[in-house]
């Protein structure tokens, strides 16, 4: 690739920041990033926990064990994602994480292949994984042999109406491995989102309200309607949490409301 995948530019942000933001939107709880020993990461928001994989070159199970060990402090289950999935949708994350009930692993087997780095795991698998690593059984398939796995095929995933609506081709599972993959992904238009603005913000710019715009981040959405995010503006994503970080990723179907940061009345 020439550039570490995590640091690839993504609509003014980085691919890592984008994927972390999408995962954060899909789960309830903290997001943990596992890096290789000494690996430099692009900047992330302060609430992201970064841990270091203690041993390099031991394959995906090693990183999975490190991440699940950290996640075990917070939750019984965790969604696990690689950093190279630019079209991951929060609805996909929510669906897979929600499928963990009663099993050890919720494993999408979509596009004909199992997707261990787009799957959900019970955090108490840590001991099992560490046992496998000691035995030099380093492939995810070894873990699936000894755990209860729910396999999620295309039909099962698309039975979720929300996921089917916003990610009908399961682009959530597209990853970028070659420069060409990245260029193709980057060439796609940003997702279409609905943007509203309230109060005095409606007097800025000439965009209609509501406006349909293409934007991959909050900052892009603001710029599309003539706003610059600053200390006096916050955004509500889908009528839910309030945000002010311009790097917050957007996906198709999102609705963004920009409002005054001062709620005094």
């Amino acid at each position: 690739m020439g550039t570490p995948k995590a640091a690839l530019e993504w609509h003014g942000s980085t691919l890592l920041r984008h994927v972390v933001g999408i995962v954060a939107r899909g789960v309830r709880g903290p997001v943990i990033v596992v890096r290789a020993p000494g690996q430099l990461l692009p900047s992330l928001s302060d609430d992201i926990e970064i841990i270091e994989d203690p041993v390099e070159g031991r394959g995906p199970l090693q990183g999975l064990a490190a991440g699940l060990a950290a996640a075990r402090r917070h939750a019984e289950g965790a969604y696990v994602s690689s950093t190279d999935m630019p079209f991951l949708h929060p609805a996909f994350v929510r669906h897979v994480a929600g499928a963990l009930d009663g099993v050890d692993v919720a494993l999408p087997k979509a596009r004909g292949y199992p997707q261990p780095l787009a799957a959900a795991y019970r955090t108490d698998l840590v001991d099992t994984i560490e046992g496998l690593i000691k035995q030099d059984r380093l492939r995810p398939a070894h873990l699936f042999e000894v755990s209860r796995v729910r396999r999620l095929d295309d039909a099962e995933l698309l039975a979720d109406p929300i996921l089917a609506n916003w990610d009908p081709n399961l682009d959530s599972l597209l990853n970028v491995n070659e420069p060409g993959d990245y260029q193709d992904a980057r060439a796609r238009p940003a997702p279409e989102v609905t943007v509203r603005r309230f109060g005095v913000l409606r007097r800025i710019g000439s965009a209609p309200d509501p406006a349909q715009v293409h934007a991959a981040t909050l900052a892009e959405a603001a710029r599309e309607i003539g706003l610059e995010l600053d200390a006096h503006i916050v955004a509500a994503l889908n009528g839910d949490q309030i945000m002010r970080d311009g790097d917050v990723p957007l996906v198709a179907g999102d609705s963004v409301a920009f409002l005054s940061a001062d709620g005094g009345g």
Partner: protein, 599 residues
């Protein structure tokens, strides 16, 4: 000699005979409580007999001025009215603005305290010639504005008047006290004045007060004025607080139909974004204010109505009413009668739900019916029909009606909730639950944290507790210095900047750390007063509806605030405030209240 910006004395007036005495205020007290709401809390500790009935003659009511009044500092022309509330039975301070603050202070006092009761409807006059009473029989029954206008015609334009409307005369428990169209609105202080048969207090300036460092104050005033024209105040300047309504609806924090929902499908009909253009006729500001937040709309029949988010919320979505004419009419009528719009709307919304459930016999009273809203206001103002019950506020009314109606009386400590949905604003939920005045957005601005993006607004925990304390502390200082809260966004380091302002005015060497300690003292003094008057742990809380019924958010999620979560936050709040687990003050905290300090 008093410090700069102060006179070092309070005037105590017994309105039975207009007899007056001066209470010297030691530097220690002034520095420890600043003025405004803080000084008022100290005065109530000293002057209110324990467990006094709020409407008894011996219950004091204090007009408290502040060190910044009379300086050129923008938004500083404000005063606090402080008394035991007839609505909550606890300490209440309510702020109003403009020329009364300046004229009242320049009578030569840091506070004017009224005690006793007149033998007939009267007006209290205070100026350089002393204190005296004049009959007010001809003013009795008039709206406060009209009474003030007639008094100034009679007395002269140098006089400034704070007056009550008919609701205050009839002791409606949430009657306001008004000056120049601005209201010391919450907690029923108009009824306290009414119980003394005082229609109004009129003040005329007769002296001057200088800051310790006039050049520094002038420089600060220029700087603050310039900052007040910036983006931090644009919302207030351009659309006013009504700009909240549509935005709050979008994020499910617009209480609707007595907190049965957090969104109102007809909210766009009441939105400032459109109404300002269609009905806006003027913009106004208080004396000494460069923001100009007051937006005047044209109501039905050409009536001019001051529009704020809180009055539109309370008389609109809270009652399910979306007709702008009806809401503006109701708001105008509240101004004329002298009713707190938040408590009036909250109490009527509770009654609408009771009527729809068949708990009270008022088939005419239904959510969404603007005529019913107006009729209810008339009956409250006259204390007639259903109004006799509703004039007591939602808590007392619910106790009388029973049948589970207390669960949906949207009040804390008897004070009706403002337009901030606690289930989707968990820091604010805590702020509303623990504040000494009751459910109030001006003494606890914890919604700032919820709306900042720094906390998860529907998962209240430790960050929310810290935010609630921080905003409560800041409000304590702003309400005591006094500066308008609409200015708060222009300060980068509020405590340090406010300390500098106070130092320039008073000549004291105050720093941020001292001001922080002062904020804590003021907050705790209010809590200590309430404890003296019978506060109990259960008074810090929220109505059952808000703890038991989830509310739908705009994106489809539900938000809930459980009793356990709120209790955890309250316990953390007590701990962080250094209080006992019971919520009462520790002995060293009581010692710090300076209640023995008299010259």
């Amino acid at each position: 000699m008093a410090p700069g910006g102060y006179f070092g004395r309070a005037l105590l007036v017994d309105v039975e005979d207009a007899g007056a005495e001066v209470l010297p205020l030691a530097d220690d007290v002034l520095r420890g409580y600043l003025g405004g709401a803080g000084l008022g809390a100290w005065l109530m500790h000293r002057l209110a007999p324990a467990r006094v009935a709020a409407l008894a003659p011996e219950a004091p009511l204090a007009f408290c001025f502040s060190p910044l009044v009379g300086t050129p500092l923008t938004t500083s022309a404000k005063f606090a009215v402080v008394a035991k509330s007839p609505l909550t039975g606890m300490l209440n301070d309510a702020l109003a603005s403009s020329h009364f603050a300046i004229a009242g202070k320049l009578t030569g006092h840091d506070a004017i305290v009224v005690r006793g009761a007149c033998s007939e409807p009267s007006v209290l006059l205070v100026d350089g010639d002393g204190t005296r009473l004049e009959p007010a029989g001809d003013l009795w029954g008039l709206p406060a504005d009209e009474a003030g206008r007639r008094l100034r015609e009679r007395l002269g334009k140098a006089w400034r008047v704070a007056a009550i409307g008919p609701a205050g005369e009839r002791l409606v428990k949430y009657a306001t006290l008004s000056h120049d169209g601005r209201h010391a609105g919450r907690g029923g202080l108009g009824a306290v004045l009414g119980s003394k048969l005082l229609k109004a207090v009129a003040v005329r300036p007769c002296t001057k007060v200088a800051p310790a460092d006039p050049a520094a104050v002038l420089a600060a005033a220029r700087d603050l004025r310039a900052r007040s024209f910036g983006p931090a105040t644009a919302k207030y300047r351009e659309l006013g607080t009504l700009a909240n309504l549509l935005a709050f609806n979008a994020i499910a924090t617009l209480p609707t139909r007595n907190f049965q929902a957090a969104t109102f499908s007809e909210a766009p009909r009441l939105a400032a974004e459109d109404l300002a253009e269609a009905r806006g006729v003027a913009r106004d500001s208080c004396a000494s204010c460069s923001i100009g937040c007051e937006h005047i709309y044209r109501g039905a029949g050409g009536k001019q109505v001051r529009v704020e988010y809180e009055n539109v919320f309370a008389l609109g979505p809270m009652c399910g009413v979306s007709d702008p004419d009806a809401v503006l009419d109701a708001s105008h009528r509240c101004d004329e009668l002298g009713l707190d719009t938040i408590s009036a709307g909250g109490t009527i919304a509770w009654a609408m739900e009771c009527a729809e459930r068949g708990l009270i016999d008022a088939p005419w009273l239904r959510f969404g019916d603007g005529d019913a809203l107006l009729r209810a206001l008339e009956e409250i103002g006259a204390r007639q029909g259903l109004g006799a019950l509703l004039a007591e506020g939602s808590r007392a009314a619910a106790r009388e009606v029973g049948n589970g109606s207390e669960a949906f009386a949207a009040q804390v400590k008897g004070l009706e909730l403002p337009g901030y949905e606690p289930r989707t604003l968990h820091a604010m939920a805590l702020g509303l639950a623990v504040n000494a005045r009751g459910a109030d957005h001006n003494r606890s601005g914890a919604y700032e944290a919820d709306l900042s993006g720094r906390v998860d607004r529907i998962a209240g925990g430790e960050p929310h507790v810290a935010a609630a304390i921080e905003t409560e502390d800041r409000a304590a200082i702003m309400d005591s210095l006094i500066l308008c809260k609409f200015l708060r966004g222009v300060f980068d380091d509020p405590m340090a900047e406010w300390a500098e302002l106070l130092s320039s005015v008073s000549g004291w060497d105050v720093d941020a750390e001292e001001l922080q300690a002062t904020a804590r003292r003021i907050v705790l003094a209010k809590r200590a007063f309430n404890a003296r008057e019978g506060w109990m742990r259960a008074d810090d809380g929220l109505p059952a509806r808000l703890l038991e019924e989830p509310v739908q958010m705009a994106g489809g999620r539900t938000a809930a605030l459980t009793p356990e979560r709120l209790d955890r936050m309250i316990e953390s709040y007590y701990q962080a405030r250094g209080l006992r687990p019971s919520g009462l003050l520790q002995s060293h905290q009581l010692d710090d209240l300076r209640l023995e300090a008299l010259v």
